[in-house]
């Protein structure tokens, strides 16, 4: 049996086979029983060398580091905002909310530290964001971003709903590293908990009965119109070609039941609302 026949045969029907997998481990995983049998037969030295060359970890790490630095950028933006709100200690913010916001701020600081450690461990350099680049008035559109309760809740909702979509969009890019992928997922769901909290606080304190913790269609729930990109694309009612608004499920519920990913460029554009001219993220 010639092992290389496998590769040759695969290549005949799939010329891009070498681009389809990203790690030697995953190749064996995909080959399933064949990989295991070959391993048992001590053949994988040659076999592995072929795949390792095609699917070496070098470029993979660079891609993961880039994703993690993107996530870190978002986390630094959010956590800086929450810190400044808590420092301002505005009288209009209820004490109970300040407790909740402190919990969120602490979680975000944990995310920052976790991402920094992962980036360093992978051989990368964690990004830093100078506070002087940031403008939480969003170019003067939000006069009192740190002390006006409605504004704080609105910005928190926008940041967290964006964060959920940002992590979701990057998850496939982390599949080559199980540990990093899982950590990102563990952050992703916490962002969703935060989003739900801000949304319920707005629902209950801002007379926004329809602003439930989940996103209905692409409704921005009374946020300023320039935040619409946070919600565009959330209105899907079909998933993987399966129509969801059936079996008595309304279109609204169908859209709520699935959150949607957001691409990196759109997330950066949203975050740039809070960066000064000449200091924008790229």
């Amino acid at each position: 049996m010639n092992i290389f026949n496998i590769l040759t045969e695969i290549e005949k029907v799939d010329p891009e086979v070498y681009a389809r997998f990203d790690s030697r481990r995953r190749v064996f995983k995909h080959l399933g029983g064949f990989g295991k049998k070959l391993a048992a037969a001590a053949i994988p030295v040659a076999f592995g060398a072929v795949f390792n060359k095609a699917y070496g970890q070098g470029t993979s790490n660079a891609a993961i580091i880039s994703i993690l630095n993107f996530a870190l950028t978002a986390e630094l933006t959010d956590s800086t905002y929450y810190r400044k709100v808590l420092e301002a200690n505005g009288a209009a913010l209820p004490a109970t909310f300040k407790t909740g916001l402190t919990l969120i701020r602490d979680n975000e600081l944990g995310h920052v530290a976790t991402l920094q450690a992962a980036i360093t461990a992978l051989g990368g350099t964690p990004v830093t964001i100078a506070e002087t680049r940031l403008d939480f008035t969003a170019g003067g559109r939000l006069p009192n971003p740190f002390t006006d309760y409605a504004t704080v809740l609105a910005l928190g909702q926008a940041f967290e709903d964006t964060g959920v979509r940002a992590y979701k969009g990057q998850a496939p890019g982390l599949m080559t590293n199980d540990m990093v992928l899982q950590t990102a997922l563990q952050i992703h769901s916490v962002e969703a908990r935060h989003a739900a909290y801000f949304r319920r606080m707005r629902r209950d304190s801002q007379n926004l009965a329809t602003n439930q913790p989940w996103i209905t269609m692409k409704d921005r729930g009374g946020l300023p119109d320039w935040t619409q990109p946070v919600y565009d694309g959330e209105e899907l009612t079909t998933q993987a070609t399966v129509p969801i608004a059936t079996n008595g499920i309304s279109a609204d519920s169908a859209s709520e039941a699935f959150d949607e990913p957001l691409d990196r460029a759109t997330v950066i554009a949203i975050l740039n609302n809070f960066y000064l001219a000449g200091q924008k993220l790229s």
Binding site: M175, L185, A192, R200, W214, V242, I249, A257
Partner: protein, 253 residues
């Protein structure tokens, strides 16, 4: 070579998901290549000792991504059945006298039904059968009993999806799971606030399902939700399901 029937519905499933990069298409390609070159390995029935047929009272989730999707389908069946019981119970209006809370619970019921029906549809012939829930431990006329059970289900669901992501080989399936897990996390946060204010992401040294503390505390590695493997999740879900869930064929890495 006991049976090869499992791979056909799996391939159909993945075909349906239209993912150019997924494992199914690769398996299809390798299947073609292997057949063409007659590279059948004598010992390949190592992976064939999988039971396709479910013995009475036992449900086998299956293998690979299909197994993980069936695992999610089982959990969604449980959640959908639970919330359906909650909102159709005779005392729903009095147990949950607040209209917003009733609206929340009915929304969550709809989301969980949507998730259940989605998995049933996408799994097609590979789907496990409808499970029989066992909610004998829940007092549906008691707000606390309902909410504590809901909290457990939602936190467990989040941890299950978080821990299963790395077991999936298809990026399409990972994204689909990601679309659902954040909604489960939104549910968890809302239910937790209904139980006790500011517990939506309660931090602590030893977070656990069924406890108030659910997020890792501290700064280094802090702020993380739980991630549990099927072998950790199913013992917690099994008491609510009559059938025995067999997860022995699920991927473990």
């Amino acid at each position: 070579m006991a049976k090869n029937t499992k791979s056909i519905p799996e391939q159909e499933l993945l075909q349906g998901l239209k993912n150019p990069l997924n494992r199914r298409s690769f398996l299809q390609y390798t299947g073609a290549g292997v057949a063409a070159s007659a590279l059948l390995l004598a010992g390949c029935d190592d992976d064939d000792d999988i039971t396709d047929t479910n013995t009475t009272g036992s449900v086998n989730l299956g293998t690979g991504d299909t197994g993980i999707l069936n695992y999610a389908y089982a959990l969604e069946q449980l959640e959908a059945a639970f919330y359906s019981m909650v909102v159709t119970h005779a005392s729903f209006q009095s147990t949950f006298s607040n209209a917003t809370e009733r609206s929340v619970l009915m929304d969550i019921r709809d989301h969980e039904v949507a998730h259940r029906e989605f998995f049933k549809s996408v799994l097609g012939n590979s789907a496990i059968p409808a499970l029989t829930p066992n909610f004998s431990a829940v007092n549906f006329a008691d707000r606390t009993s309902v909410l504590m059970t809901a909290r457990t289900f939602e936190d467990l669901g989040v941890a299950a999806y978080n821990g299963a992501g790395k077991l999936l080989t298809s990026a399409t399936n990972l994204t689909l799971a990601g679309k659902i897990v954040s909604v489960e996390a939104r549910h968890a946060a809302e239910i937790r606030e209904m139980v006790k204010v500011n517990t939506f992401a309660a931090r602590g040294a030893t977070p656990a399902i069924g406890q108030e503390t659910i997020i890792t505390g501290g700064t280094a590695n802090g702020g993380l939700d739980m991630a549990l493997l099927p072998s950790q999740v199913l013992p917690l879900a099994q008491p609510f399901i009559r059938e025995t869930i067999n997860a022995s064929n699920l991927p473990t890495i």
